[in-house]
Amino acid sequence: MNRFDDELRLAFRREEPSPDFTDRVMARIAELQKQEKPREKTDWLRKLMEFFQPPQMKWAMAGAMVVALLIAGFGWRRSVENERRRLAEIAEGERAKEQVMLAMRIASAKLSVAQKKVYETASHEGESK
């Protein structure tokens, strides 16, 4: 430490404010409290904000947001897949229905041919008798 440092320390020693300083601070606080009373209803909002203010809470919030985004993304992807599967099942059902209908039409045509032949044979036999 040299003399110049000591001079600076002496020049910048602490000073007291006016004697009524503390009283004035306390008076202003009392005034603020009076004004703040009607605002007590919104106090829960301030408390909630304060709860999320510490840095640890900010990190926790960021983590929770990432997890929530992952869950939402995963859910959205699953719902898209389910919808695609449902549409595929409907299309498959439609195709099966069409095949059944085609089979029925073929069977019906074959039956009518057979029936026609049976009638023709029966009528030929009747004529020859």
Binding site: F4, F12, V25
Partner: protein
């Protein structure tokens, strides 16, 4: 033997003081207005002096100090210990001072080298050197002024100042070095014969 006893007494007194400060803080946090007033009384000289040496105006300094303590009252829940309280008050006061200077533009800051030399006679209650030093420091730009005030009023080392002002350590050291060089030069020029 006697000196050991005195050291023990000093340590004991310091511990009692710390316990009392802890107790005052927790009572203030519980809403005890008297305890909060005690906290204000305990730290008002520190907060006021920082603001006063920065603004060079008692009324402005008292307004700034009041704002700092009201802000403290509103954020008392976040204060963890008496040491944290001191750190918090120094930091908030420093930031308030800089904000005030920027808003008001009352104090026209100039570069350290271009700072005008004080011409007004010193205040009668201060020594010539004290008054000259205060006036030269008042002409420094905001950040170097705060760094010098924190260094010599609060006796903080550059690491603590860097942490307080959220500034790189080398910047703090360079502000201090440059400011001290200028201060020495100007004081020598003004006071001539006085050995600095």
């Amino acid at each position: 033997m006697a000196s050991e006893k005195r050291t023990d007494q000093l340590i004991e007194r310091k511990e009692v003081g710390m316990q009392r400060a802890d107790d005052t803080l927790s009572r203030a946090k519980d809403g005890d207005q008297t305890a909060f007033a005690d906290l204000v009384r305990e730290h008002q000289a520190m907060v006021f002096s920082l603001a006063h040496y920065f603004s060079r105006d008692r009324a402005t300094a008292e307004d700034l100090a009041q704002e700092v303590f009201i802000h403290l009252y509103q954020n008392l829940g976040a204060i963890e210990s008496p040491a944290h309280l001191k750190f918090w008050l120094r930091r908030v006061t420093s930031h308030r001072c800089i904000d005030h200077a920027r808003k008001k533009h009352k104090m026209k800051t100039v570069s350290v080298d271009d700072a005008p030399e004080p011409v007004a006679p010193p205040c009668f209650q201060d020594s010539l050197m004290t008054a000259t030093l205060r006036r030269i420091v008042a002409t420094l730009p905001e950040k170097p002024r705060l760094v010098v005030t924190l260094r010599y009023q609060e006796d903080l080392d550059p690491t603590e100042i860097a942490e307080l002002l959220e500034m790189p350590l080398n910047t703090v050291k360079s502000h201090l070095r440059r400011s001290l060089t200028i201060l020495r030069e100007k004081v020598t020029r003004i006071l001539g014969e006085i050995k600095v």
